[in-house]
């Protein structure tokens, strides 16, 4: 597989560029800038392209890095290599605070929040003496290491190249890990991830800080390259430009950041050179053409240029991923530990007087419910009877207006979903909520998020492979159990809806639950598939897992469950064995109809 070495070859070629005869020094300087921009754009790939948080504030974090080292080295004579960790810490703390305030903002509030911070930063730096106002700070020393000074751009080029390579490797490592799966769930899978114990808010903060730190490192290098800083390169326009680079390159691909930074920088530079010669236009005219090229590029490649460039290698990349999983799974390591289910027949879940009001509508009205370990219970009733709302209350997605829920010897009333998950409760969703852009096996692996503990630092340094192997092996085992092992590497959303629901069951199983809540698991399955599903659920029940399911398929329910609860207009209408329910006149009138 020679293509595995493509990044290495790319790096070696890049190393050789300054050695080529006849390369003008200006080109090297341009490459230096591309590298600096790329570092920031890599952070944006994680934050915006994958994490779905659009930030107009990256230039501010570049500014934090640059100003910190500028002030510390010029004013206090600190060595730049001591200033670097300080700059990183200052930026990280600032990002942590800004993130804590801003990341609560949902949807489009976040971009505006970051605009506000960035504009404020610009004017504060421009108006305070501490930052030397709009004149800025000059006289910053160039970097040096082991007596070698990085004064000229060719030497600095090597340093920047190494930093870019490290940033890319670390980021790819991060995305291919337990935390990486959580990051990839931020954009469109937050509710599902939260249901399996991912602390979405913490992951968002982490990603925000990560992107900020990359920006700060770029700012640090920038300050020592320019040897002066002033507020203008850290204004909102620069933030927009970083975002633009990430999007042009392909916002959800790490190499796209480098590509985008390169192309945007080169085009702008060429336009500045060429346009005046072509048309004799002066001034700002290059931005006219730049804007046009930008729009055209997006029209040709709305996903960014990287997917276009890498298209010929797509099959090789998929193969590599496949063998990567195989290698992980084949590693010698012990299995994930299992939870001991409570003794059969013990009271597992108990809900008393649950009520939920939405405005004037009472969706759930004084419902009592209990489920014993190892039992299969069905919840049926007409649409709008409150079944899904009841599910959401139990799993901590919604809070009840009144009533209590106890689960596995804990009071879980109003407990957030991710803490409920810790106690051994797993669920599937009525409308399958698999995480887009992730393979089937990765989607299942997020189910066992709480059964492992590798954090971001182990992921960055690739020290999580043993654990990762265990998680993948568990995911594969659960996929085998539901009969979908053959689809493990397919994009999850390319499966039919019925099968996506089955993947959700595998995901729930990989969390090693004692209670499984399934919302319409049999919808969209054909007869044989339903039979297989029923057999699986029976086997789980024998292993001691309790199951509560909402289902419209009466035959499926009647053949499988020990107990059926019927809901109507938010209240419990009847409860009993399937046979008793089928004869109950009230149930027949409200739900089953005369033909059933």
């Amino acid at each position: 597989m020679p293509r595995r070495f493509a990044p290495v070859i790319g790096f070696l070629v890049a190393l050789g560029v300054p050695l080529l005869p006849g390369v003008p020094p200006f080109w090297i300087t341009l490459l230096d800038y591309i590298g600096l921009y790329a570092i920031v754009a890599i952070g944006l790939v994680v934050l915006t392209g994958i994490g779905g948080m659009t930030s107009f504030g990256q230039a501010m974090f570049v500014g934090f890095g640059a100003y910190t080292t500028a002030i510390l080295t010029t004013r206090y004579g600190l060595s730049p290599w001591l200033a670097l960790p300080v700059a990183i810490i200052v930026t990280a703390v600032a990002a942590l605070i800004i993130g804590a305030v801003t990341l609560n903002l949902s949807g489009h509030y976040l971009p505006v929040g970051t605009i506000a911070w960035n504009i404020s930063f610009y004017y504060v730096a421009g108006n305070l003496d501490f930052f030397r106002r709009y004149d800025g700070i000059s006289g910053i020393l160039p970097l040096s290491m082991f007596g070698v000074s990085f004064l000229d751009s060719a030497r600095l080029y090597y340093l920047i190249l190494v930093v870019v390579a490290l940033a890319m490797i670390a980021t790819e490592n991060l995305l291919d890990s337990r935390i990486g799966r959580a990051i990839r769930a931020l954009n469109a899978g937050a509710v599902a991830a939260e249901a399996f114990g991912v602390d979405i808010f913490r992951v968002r903060i982490f990603v925000f800080v990560y992107a900020a730190v990359l920006a700060a490192i770029s700012g640090f290098l920038y300050a020592h390259m320019q040897r002066a800083v002033n507020p203008s390169p850290f204004n909102i326009e620069a933030s927009i430009e970083y975002l633009l680079m990430a999007v042009v390159g392909g916002a959800s691909h790490v190499p796209g950041a480098l590509l985008g930074a390169g192309i945007v920088t080169l085009i702008k530079n060429e336009l500045q050179d060429v346009l005046p010669k072509l048309f004799g236009l002066e001034g700002n005219s290059e931005i006219i053409v730049f804007g046009v090229i930008l729009v055209l590029m997006l029209q040709v490649a709305p996903e960014g240029l990287w997917p276009l460039v890498s298209a010929p290698f797509r099959r090789a990349l998929a193969k590599q991923r496949f063998s990567g999983t195989a290698k992980l799974v084949a590693q010698k390591s012990e299995m994930l530990s299992r939870r001991e289910p409570p003794p059969r027949g013990d009271k597992l879940l108990e809900a008393i007087g649950l009520r939920k009001r939405f405005g004037g509508l009472v969706a759930v009205n004084d419902v009592d419910l209990d489920i014993r370990s190892g039992e299969i219970v069905a919840l049926i009733g007409p649409n709008g009877a409150g079944k899904t709302t009841l599910f959401n209350i139990i799993t901590g997605v919604d809070r009840p207006s009144a009533g209590h829920v106890r689960f596995n010897a804990h009071d879980i009333t109003s407990m957030p979903a991710r803490l409920v998950a810790r106690l051994g409760l797993a669920r599937s969703f009525q409308h399958a909520r698999l995480i887009p852009g992730m393979s089937v096996i990765d989607n299942v692996a997020i189910g066992s998020h709480l059964r492992a503990d590798a954090g971001p630092f182990r992921a960055l340094l690739r020290l999580d492979r043993q654990e990762e192997g265990r998680l993948k092996r568990e995911a594969l085992a659960e996929l085998e159990r539901v009969g979908l092992a053959g689809e493990a590497e397919r994009p999850a959303l390319s499966l039919a809806l019925g099968r996506q629901r089955i993947v959700e069951i595998a995901r729930a199983l990989s969390s090693d639950p004692v209670l499984l809540l399934l919302d319409e698991p049999a919808a969209g399955l054909r007869h044989q598939e339903k039979a297989a599903l029923a057999a699986l659920l029976r086997k789980l029940s024998e292993e001691g897992v309790a199951i509560l399911l909402v289902e419209h398929d009466i035959d499926f329910v009647m053949g499988l469950c020990e107990r059926v609860i019927v809901m109507n207009f938010g209240s419990k209408l009847a409860e009993g064995t399937p046979a008793a329910i089928a004869r109950d006149p009230a149930v027949i009138e409200a739900y089953l109809g005369l033909g059933a």
């Binding site: 009733g381 007409p382 649409n383 709008g384 009525q430 994009p491 959303l493 390319s494 499966l495 039919a496 809806l497 019925g498 099968r499 319409e520 919808a523 969209g524 399955l525 054909r526 007869h527 044989q528 598939e529 419209h552 009466i554 035959d555 409200a590 739900y591 089953l592 109809g593 033909g595 059933a596």
Partner: protein, 238 residues
Amino acid sequence: MLELRDLAVAYGGVLAVRGVSLRVEAGSIATVIGANGAGKSTLLNAIMGILPSRGHIVFSASSLEGLPVEARVAAGLGLVPEKRELFSSMSVEDNLRLGAFLRRKEGRGAIAASLDEVFGLFPRLRERRRQLAGTLSGGERQMLAMGRALMGRPKLLMLDEPSLGLAPLIVRDIFEIIASMKRAHVAILLVEQNARAALQIADLGYVMENGTIVLEGSCEALRSDPRVVETYLGIAHA
């Protein structure tokens, strides 16, 4: 009315539908049954122009090739999609009125008459005409989606899984209404995984598996075909 010849649709990187040929005659109900993932919804979306396809789609003796969704609606096709796609923050009545968007030049009288017709078919919608579509129950949403499509006076109405997620009682109502629409001379192409109900009301049936039609014939014949009975109706109900 509608004729497909050798239709192929690629979706999500796989050929989800290939080599499909089928016909729907004027004033009849045709149904496509099959498991989820067999390509039924993909097929309807391709006929409607939501997904690009290869092959021939002939409707009312003219080709629909290359036409966008809106133009196919104007030609007399209607689709009630699996996810209903209602205007959730608008009233039931506004939803219905927008259903007649392309008939806006026909004048108030004609639209009001259609509105009355739809309310006659779905009395529940009349009760809730001022309510927002997003607050309706699952069955009512299905009724509204069908009503909205009927407001456009389609010559052929395509229904994607009208029974999905509905309680048994409501499913029965919906199917009765579908049967009555046939009497109103609207041709219907019905896609269902509830094979039992679909084969009851349709004239012509197609069984779809893995993106191709594996069986076709009159619904009467299909109801007693052993392959259909075993796979889609369940042995217990043979």
